[in-house]
Symmetry: C2
């Protein structure tokens, strides 16, 4: 298996891009990543996207985007794993380069999720749930996250305020990120007063669905050393799943797919959680942030929220998370979110994170979740020089 | 790069499966393939599907199907390349095993396309076209195929009857396939009298969209030799794209993606078209059958239809195609079609094709097209023993 590295990154701002199409957003990110990599020689394109077919009436995004980006001819196809589509597309690119079948690949995550409102948007969003046993009964991702959060609060005896630290941290970091959707910091008391979305999930517990595109250029670690002044090694790539629906899980409060894919990734990279300098996790809901920290070995069961309360997750803390704002403040461009994580981790490892820089960052963990952790995609990134 | 082989195949009948869900169909094919492979040890699942989100309100099929099939925990994600989704999922499985990241993978193609009728079905179908520049103006895949066919007839001076042989062959083969959707043979004169769908594309020029699922189990060629009495090597795997829309192509009558991916596949397998014993091509329309034969080096430009007229494509001909009925008679379970091709090619190479057997088959070419050839996925399969 060949070692794989990232030699270029690109992203568009995250937000409501009503003036841009899927292909335009994706092309902007692709061109930025190719320019950053200093190459236009690419063999393959892997696209992460969740809602093209339902919201934009557009599937077949591989060939469509390759064409629009001026890359017609190359291998191109799209990957779906709901909210984890971006992470899964990165996995596809990793496999292609690691195998030897492809020398240079570009992975782009792209989403337009704000072109629909109301029930049409909910229907599109709900395709990521179980259509026959969850969505049809009126469940939504937020409603299910609320069940999970309420169960956590009951089981571990914590109050809503236990989750405040995640939101405060995300907005503090996002406020310094020019590509973030919501650049406001959270005033003291705002979290407690936040309107409920699905009790106990409030406005500041849930990330905003957004539009955006992010891209990374992958090649072999060997070639990367020649091509890039700051190559980043993809030291591990792992995917795991769990029982799909919450009610089928033996232990609803343990994200087994997140845990399993993280364990596989640690083993492949030869590291332990202690070696991780920053963690871009899937904070679509604050409850997922807490559970992800617990599943990935950073906190005991029921204690994930303490890292936030103790300030351990800040840029200068023991384990910085959501360093550019995470899904909460940077915004959640669903099928692109996993690629944004990769871009942001690279910027950290290259020392180019500006005001968001985690000092001395050498090893980053990124994790993309589909649904409420039904799918988990985990990668370890490490600075090569 | 590790050599990859297929050690198990499974399929459901193709047709209208109103009583089965996506997950049920997929699980039936997966279990059949695992039983055929004699193993239940699988590391990863790659799903090919085109219309889950639009027709069944269901995406996130990797985790969903893994769970239903009793495989929760393993890596799982889905692949979209419109009609070529099945071929692209096979590509994903190939890359995973070839890379060394995955030892045993299952690739399943699954589609339910008959649960909608009328304009809702057309809208779902049209997501595979260019939503902004084709579908929005009223184009459909069949209408665009009609333009292509008319252009071919005009350019090369052939009549509609030139395409009859493809349909006659497909139905002759499909009539002997218990899994085929339409098992009728074509009576003399039927083709000429067939009702028009989009002139000059008639009923017998176009394949019926269908439901169904097919699966193959992949592992390394080395392990395959121990595990299976009749392993089939995936000797080549290649994907290419072309300009997306017909009007952007320099030469509308040349399927450049089909040609490019076939050339790559021949080179990887170290074979020439002369070495191919059977060709499962993407005969969603008879015009695509003719153009595919030309693009893949089996006929000169404008001469593809002659192979059908001369009987070269029959089971005992020089180049048997659509040996189990192809998309036309076996039916077109869109995102599953590419995996059906792989299953059928394996049965041929294992000498288990029954009344559809191509005598002495050792090397098979399979090719899955997305849209009107915007994406092409080509694999070479060879008997290992």
């Amino acid at each position: 298996m060949r070692d794989v590295a990232i030699i270029g990154v690109g992203q568009t701002p995250v937000g409501e891009h009503w003036e841009s199409s899927l292909r335009s957003l994706a092309t902007d990110a692709i061109h930025a990543a190719l320019e950053d990599a200093g190459t236009d020689q690419v063999d393959a394109l892997y696209v992460g996207n969740a809602f093209g077919a339902t919201i934009s009436s557009q599937s077949h995004l591989g060939a469509l985007i390759a064409d629009h980006a001026g890359l017609a001819g190359i291998e191109a196809w799209a990957v779906d794993a709901a909210d984890a589509s971006g992470g899964a597309a990165l996995r596809a690119g990793y496999l292609a380069v690691a195998s030897g079948a492809v020398d240079t690949a570009i992975v782009v995550g792209v989403e337009k999720s704000t072109d629909m409102l109301g029930s049409a948007r909910v229907r599109a969003r709900n395709t990521a749930l179980d259509a026959d046993y969850e969505a049809i009964h009126g469940a939504t991702l937020t409603a299910l996250a609320a069940l999970l959060m309420r169960r956590y609060m009951e089981e571990y005896g914590v109050e809503l305020s236990a989750f405040e630290g995640f939101s405060v941290n995300a907005h503090a970091n996002g406020s310094k990120n020019a590509n973030a959707m919501f650049r406001n910091t959270l005033k003291p008391g705002s979290f407690a007063r936040s309107p409920m979305v699905a009790e106990p999930v409030g406005l500041f517990d849930s990330a905003p669905d957004a539009d955006g595109a992010a891209a990374v250029v992958l090649t072999t670690a060997e070639r990367a050393a020649d091509l890039s002044p700051h190559p980043v090694r993809l030291s591990a790539s792992a995917v795991a799943t769990s029982r799909f629906a919450l009610q089928d899980r033996q232990d609803m409060l343990f994200l087994s797919a997140a845990s399993q894919s993280a364990s596989l990734a640690y083993a492949q990279a030869g590291i332990s959680p202690d070696d991780v300098n920053l963690f871009e996790l899937h904070d679509a809901f604050t409850i997922l942030a807490a559970l992800s920290l617990e599943a990935c070995g950073f906190a005991e069961r029921g204690q994930g929220w303490r890292l936030a309360q103790e300030g351990a997750i800040g840029l200068d803390g023991r384990l910085p998370i959501s360093t550019f704002g995470g899904l909460k403040s940077r915004g959640n461009p669903v099928g692109a979110a996993g690629v944004y994580q990769a871009v942001e981790a690279c910027l950290q490892l290259r020392g180019e994170a500006g005001p968001n820089q985690v000092s001395g960052a050498r090893t980053a963990l990124i994790q993309s979740l589909g649904g409420l952790g039904s799918t988990a995609v985990t990668h370890v990134l490490q600075a090569l020089v």
